[in-house]
């Protein structure tokens, strides 16, 4: 895989949940060691696209190429083994088990000998979790649970982290902290693809951004240019019909 090839590429991806397709012909490249944020109005298919990357949806057509291999036919378990990890939307931990137990269960696929080392690695990334090890995951704050969920999947040192609306249910202070942590991971060599409502906070730390409208990429580019682009307003609040916005691409 040459240096210029993206780590993750979608070629004409069409996906949905069995009914009409929600993701319609998406072409997207995510270069390695960069953070890409998917934004766009609700119902545009952002979460569906992210879940399609992890194999949680039906793929009608198109390819997903990860590190040179097409993976659209593989199962979530297989994709996790090849180095893609997903932190789904909302709470996704084992609320009636302690933080330590959550992390231990999450490390089940790590060889036993290397588990302590993997635990130290994630506790190094998420020091706020250290004092909370013995408390029940359910009693943690929304933000702390979000960090726990990220720590859980990072023990296997995946190459690419998919994060679905990490800011949902978090206070503005926690939202900023979560995105700073994502940026830190990106600087440490992780490729991050986030779906996010809070466009300003996400784009502030992202390298690139793509605006999804009605299942298609309306336009994409470097994060700072996207915010300034007036097409954001039409994408979110309309004014032009979607096809005009798409033709400008």
């Amino acid at each position: 895989m040459s240096a210029t090839d993206p780590l993750l590429r979608c070629e004409g991806l069409v996906a949905g949940y069995g009914g009409p397709p929600i993701v319609r012909q998406v072409y997207l490249d995510v270069p390695e060691n960069e953070m890409m944020t998917l934004v766009g109005p609700n119902g545009a298919g952002k979460s569906t696209l992210l879940r399609a990357l992890y194999g949680l949806t039906k793929t009608y057509a198109g390819h997903i190429v990860f590190a040179g291999r097409s993976i659209e036919k593989t199962t979530p378990l297989e994709r996790y083994a090849t180095g893609i990890a997903l932190v789904p939307q909302g709470r996704c931990n084992f609320d009636r088990m302690s933080v330590a137990e959550n992390l231990a269960v999450a490390a089940h696929s790590v060889p036993v000998a290397r588990r302590p080392e993997a635990l130290d690695y994630v506790l190094g990334l998420f020091p706020t979790l250290k004092p909370l090890m013995q408390s029940m995951a359910g009693n943690l704050s929304g933000g702390e649970q979000q960090l726990l969920e990220m720590a859980m999947v990072l023990q296997t040192r995946p190459k690419c982290l998919l994060v679905d609306e990490p800011s949902l249910g978090l206070s503005p202070r926690m939202q900023a902290a979560v995105f700073e942590k994502l940026a830190e991971l990106r600087d440490g060599g992780m490729t991050v693809v986030a779906v996010e409502q809070n466009v300003r906070v996400a784009l502030a730390v992202s390298n690139r951004a793509a605006v999804l409208v009605q299942g298609e990429i309306a336009f994409e580019g470097p994060a700072d240019q996207i915010l300034a682009d007036d097409r954001i307003r039409t994408a979110y609040l309309g004014g032009q019909t979607i096809s005009q916005a798409a033709n400008d691409r």
Binding site: V14, P20, P21, Y60
Partner: protein, 331 residues
């Protein structure tokens, strides 16, 4: 349902079965075959009672045998202890069953469907235990023997249904009246309402349906017909004992309803008659027959969960509507 007016198609089938019923006692005098006929008719009504609550309303209830047994005991006690006639016994059985059904139903409906099923089974198991151990009421394991045959009239002008032939006709009247009443209910708007609730309770509520009340109606209706069938059955076998609650009965009516097709009427009637008659003819010993029922239940659930009605429906559907093409899917 085919487009010809439904009443004529159903009337034809009803007349056919009724005629067959009337002829049978002329074809055979052997009490063995008449007994099979009587139990076939009673079990068909009993299975139809399960079909009301499970088939139409979508509530899998294993309490039917509980009401079947309670009805039997109540009728037997009314006749043997209170000196009433079987008719008063059956009315009492129906009322007690309906009352019990509404009480237990109201409590159990507060639960999710999962717990409802388990509570319904525990009701039957508890009734069996009470019949076994509440000696001074149920006479315990010995049960209540010597139940007099049903009869009409007083003093000399008494007409008794003591002989198998006469009881056969009594059972035929009972089956015709009961199945007729159930047919009127399930093919009317009440039946449609229950099927709406079975299909999507939330949607039914959003259209203004008092779902919980309709569920209680279904449970109570089912318990009444189960109790009546039980009462008539024990007066034919002339004894009621704790074995009336045996899991065998739960399993037979489940097999009948699933093979026939949940929420269908005529297929359940036909499968009810066949499934009670066949093993009797094969004369297999009790254990092997019940093992065969167990195997039939497993196969039915695995292979054709929608029963005969489902298969008939699929065949009719395959002929009329084309499958949705992927093009339309991508539209």
């Amino acid at each position: 349902m085919t487009r010809t007016s439904p009443v004529s198609w159903n009337a034809l089938l009803a007349a056919l079965l009724l005629a067959a019923g009337i002829i049978v006692p002329f074809l055979t005098q052997s009490s063995y075959f008449l007994t099979i006929g009587i139990s076939a008719m009673i079990f068909t009504v009993f299975a139809m009672s399960l079909n009301i609550v499970y088939g139409y309303a979508g509530l899998l209830s294993l309490a039917q045998v509980g009401f079947w047994g309670v009805g039997s005991y109540v009728a037997a006690l009314v006749v043997t202890r209170l000196g009433g006639s079987i008719w008063e016994g059956m009315i009492a059985a129906a009322l007690v069953a309906a009352g019990g059904a509404i009480l237990i139903g109201a409590a159990a409906l507060r639960l999710s469907n999962h717990a409802f099923v388990i509570v319904s089974l525990c009701f039957t198991l508890l009734m069996q235990m009470l019949a076994q151990e509440w000696i001074d009421v149920t006479n315990g394991p010995m049960g209540i023997p010597g139940l007099p045959p049903p009869s009409i009239g007083f003093g000399e002008a008494v007409f008794s249904f003591g002989t198998p032939t006469r009881f056969f006709y009594l059972a035929l009247v009972f089956a015709t009246v009961s199945l007729g009443a159930i047919w009127i209910v399930v093919t009317s708007r009440v039946g449609k309402t229950l099927r709406m609730i079975k299909h999507d309770e939330t949607l039914a509520r959003s259209l203004g349906l008092r779902v919980t009340i309709w569920k209680l109606v279904a449970i109570a209706l089912a318990s009444v017909f189960a109790a009546l069938s039980g009462a008539l059955y024990v007066f034919y076998v002339t004894i009621v004992d704790p074995l009336i609650f045996d899991v065998y009965y739960t399993q037979v009516i489940l097999v009948i309803v699933i093979i026939g097709g949940l929420g269908s009427f005529w297929p359940v009637v036909i499968s009810g008659l066949l499934i009670t008659v066949l093993p009797e003819i094969l004369r297999t010993p009790n254990e092997l027959r019940m093992i065969s029922y167990g195997v039939i239940l497993l196969l039915a659930v695995l292979i054709m969960p929608t029963g005969i009605a489902g298969l008939a429906g699929k065949m009719r559907a395959r002929r009329t509507t084309p499958a949705t093409s992927t093009a339309e899917l991508l539209q």
